[in-house]
Amino acid sequence: MAVKVLERRPLSFWERTYLPQVLGGLRVTWRNILRPSVTLQYPEQRPTIPKGYRGVPTLVRDPNGREKCVSCQLCEFICPPKAIRITPGEIPATAETAHVEKAPKEFEINMLRCIYCGLCQEVCPEEAIWLQNQYSMTGTTRAEMVNNKARLYELGGTLPDSHFKWDHKKAESERQAGGHH
């Protein structure tokens, strides 16, 4: 490859005095003074959260109000900083959703450990754990920074569901059961 040698242009007298450069710089900063500020005045003005933002991890319910988590503990195992702790529990046989079998008795996410990587959301087979829009978690004690199950559902709310996996399963098993009879 041919090398093209560029001659550096010698500085003119005025350039060597440094004064035109200073004046040019002053002009640039003066134009900046006249430009509007880009500051976002935080507590009053909030940033617009882009789609797919990874905020605080939360637990969600499906549109029918069923809690989606089945306490399979995949998120707990994949969590790199070990921020998640799940105590699995059983759904009583009398409940309407008894066929789901399991639900977490307690679900804790320690926000002092969480690194917002989103692996829990990625690994969840039930789409039950979501990193949503909230970006600011504060607390005055360490205990306050551990989100328990109630708090996680409060933060998560309900997300639209396109599968209704367990409803389909129930309908399918009933259909099959009906077919046998």
Partner: protein, 366 residues
């Protein structure tokens, strides 16, 4: 009442001089505080930010229109800053030379305040200058001499801190002052040469210098001297792009690395005090002092003229302080060797050449 006011303004009695001094120091401290605000606001505007706009007081925020204006303009911020400095803990590092460590901020601030006593701000109706210490014929010489003493504060701080960064900052500060003091003194000589040309009755008096600029400002007569003097006051006040003694990037905080709380506050005020002095000197010697514009005759008579002169002077001062700030947030810091080269190889020869040319001009033409 009127007698008291007159006495307060002009009486040579010790008590009245003392009161005048305290008032002047109060005014200068206030200007210094608001110069800090100007610095913060202007830097914010240059960088596309808003600057301090939160600080307010309960009873101020209740006033409609003015309250929000004061809050958004950050006008309460200097009081908050000063208050913070006052109430902070004053740690005394164990490795410092204690007496000199405490003495240094005082030595830095005292010359700045002492110099301001000699600044004339306006012309009184009786033709003398409105200044704490008026009419000294050696005015400018004394001002240069005393204001340069401020560097002792820096040197003392750097040495007594017993810290290599502080010490380097102090050494740089002293070297810089010596290098630029020469060019500065030589740059203003032509101004006095013009003012005290044969036949005129002007000495080294600043009032006389201002009076000699009534027709034409010295910046037009002596642009080169003006430029050299301008660069020199930037260097003398240790402002960007010459803030060698501080240079945060390579010396942590320079000479005030070991200082905190109000001792640091004193250094801070001293820097702004020197800025006020430098700006005032430039305005008095090159920008026509209390004259509004060259060629415009004095407006009003008696005390009204004095007040208008005072207003003109302070307007120019504020604009010049803004210029200081504007330059600071525009130009990056010079390297130490560049500063030295600029001082000795460029400014000094320029000042000498300018002086010699003025000599020749007046020898043959005047």
């Amino acid at each position: 009442m009127e007698n008291l006011l007159n006495d307060l303004l002009t009486s040579p009695g010790l008590l009245f001089v003392g009161v005048r001094g305290v008032i002047l120091i109060g005014i200068v401290m206030t200007i210094a505080g608001y110069a800090v605000l100007l610095e913060r606001k202007a830097s914010a505007w240059i960088q596309g930010r808003l600057g301090p706009n939160r600080t307010t007081l309960p009873f101020v925020s209740w006033i409609p229109l003015i309250g929000p204006f004061l809050r958004l303009g950050g006008f309460i911020q200097p009081a908050a800053d000063g208050g913070k400095f006052l109430f902070k803990e004053e740690p005394m590092p164990s490795h410092v030379r204690k007496i000199y460590y405490v003495l240094a901020p005082i030595v830095a601030l005292a010359p700045a305040l002492a110099t301001i006593a000699m600044l004339p701000f306006a012309l009184l109706p009786d033709g003398t200058a409105l200044a704490l210490c008026k009419g000294a014929d050696v005015g400018v010489l004394l001002m240069f001499a005393v204001s340069s003493l401020g560097v002792y504060g820096i040197a003392l701080a750097g040495w007594s801190s017993n810290n290599k960064f502080s010490f380097l900052g102090a050494v740089r500060g002293s070297a810089q002052l010596i290098s630029y003091e020469l060019a500065m003194g030589l740059a203003v000589l032509p101004v006095f040469l013009i003012a005290s040309a044969p036949g005129s009755d002007h000495g080294l008096n600043l009032t006389a210098i201002v009076a000699s600029q009534e027709g034409l400002w010295n910046i037009v007569r002596q642009p080169l001297a003006g430029l050299v003097f301008l660069v020199c006051i930037f260097a003398e006040t240790n402002r960007h792009p010459f803030d060698m003694p501080e240079s945060e990037t390579d010396l942590v905080g320079g000479f005030h690395t070991e200082y905190g709380a109000f001792k640091f506050g004193l250094f801070f005020v001293a820097e702004y005090g020197h800025m006020i002095i430098g700006s005032s000197l430039f305005i008095l010697m090159f920008l026509g002092g209390w004259h509004i514009l060259p060629g415009i005759p004095e407006v009003g008579t008696g005390i009204i003229a004095t007040l208008i002169g005072l207003g003109t002077f302070f307007t120019k001062l504020v604009l010049f302080l803004f210029f200081f700030v504007w330059v600071r947030w525009t130009i990056p810091r010079f390297r130490y060797d560049q500063v030295m080269r600029l001082g000795w190889n460029v400014l000094l020869p320029l000042a000498v050449a300018n002086l010699v040319l003025t000599f020749i001009y007046y020898a043959f033409a005047g």
